[in-house]
Symmetry: C2
Subunit: 198 residues, 2 copies
């Protein structure tokens, strides 16, 4: 049966991003790629995990993950990922500002949803056609879906680094039970997968 | 070379205890043994890890780990661990209130240190006679030692549970670099060991 999954990279102290995210520093001041070194420096050792991150039939992400802009849209902005984003599937972007869908190369389409998290998930489920739906991030979006009991499988990728402040995974989330499914990892990451009961 | 180690059990959201710790609920309201099920339900699978927790030559712990009392000492209180605590070594308890040492069965002695964390560590190093010193907890004590750059090896035991609030590991800690040494685990825990550079 299809499920709602979520992959998220966090620091050992539980942050998915530092403070003051911006165009120049998408993961926050001074954070650079420290949460994702395992993806860039150990792509082979982590190949299976990396492949699974983009294996869903449709994706949901927060506007702050889609881009650094806030308020009215800069229509030139089509995401961080260049002409061919790695999703190769429909991506639903949560926003308060309407915008026409954007079709990218390689099958990724960005559809902008102003109706809230349940509406975005419903659209993603329909678009996935029976495949899994992935909540792609960032932390604030993941926390909303967790708090609403809408994520079935949570896959943490814990980097050996402390951020000290920023966007914290699980902020405002309570009342969920976790079953551990498995763990794996390398020197640069510990992967832990939980099934979420709600 | 001998090192300063720290084993601490935390929830997936980073808490070492919940809210309102008490005599009846040492790990906080409603927490029970959820952070430590792996020790009690899977002692064989986790035997090596459990044995390592009490393998140091001397220990330091905060008063709040030693007992639920605050302020002046109740001299009848000799810890949570019965007549023969599992340490079998000198244990230095941080406190603001002087108290004479207490010798327990099996080689554990509780010595009460009012001179602060560096003084307690110095006494523990001397007592350990070249063996490792372990910072035994709780979170507030561990955070003080981490923030002071005095812990060399941090061994997290991450339970598949969310507490939502309480005593958070890494609170107020920044500026440390972590090198991951290894991971292991079962369905009830993920063990992650970090070397701390400071």
């Amino acid at each position: 049966m299809s499920k709602v999954t979520c992959d998220i990279a966090i620091s050992a102290d539980g942050f998915a991003a530092g403070r003051n995210q911006s165009l120049e520093e998408p993961f926050g001041e001074g954070v650079g790629q420290v949460l994702h070194r395992w993806m860039f420096e150990e792509p082979e050792e982590n190949a299976e995990v990396i492949e699974r991150i983009t294996a869903a039939g449709a994706f949901v992400m927060g506007r702050n993950m889609f881009g650094p802009g806030r308020g009215a849209w800069d229509l030139d902005w089509t995401g961080w990922w260049g002409d061919e984003p790695p999703y190769h599937a429909p991506v639903f972007v949560l926003t308060h500002h309407e915008r026409a869908p954007v079709a990218m190369e390689g099958g990724t389409t960005f559809t902008f949803v102003t109706g809230g998290i349940e509406e975005a998930l419903a659209q993603a489920r329909k678009a996935a056609g029976g495949a899994d739906v992935a909540i792609a991030g960032g932390a604030a979006t993941v926390n909303q879906y967790l708090a609403a009991g809408l994520i079935d499988e949570l896959r943490l990728h814990i980097a050996p680094v402390l951020l000290g402040a920023g966007e914290r995974l699980f902020d405002g989330v309570s009342g969920l039970s976790l079953d551990k499914v498995g763990h794996a990892g390398t020197d640069l990451v510990t992967h832990v997968t939980y099934r979420v009961r709600h």
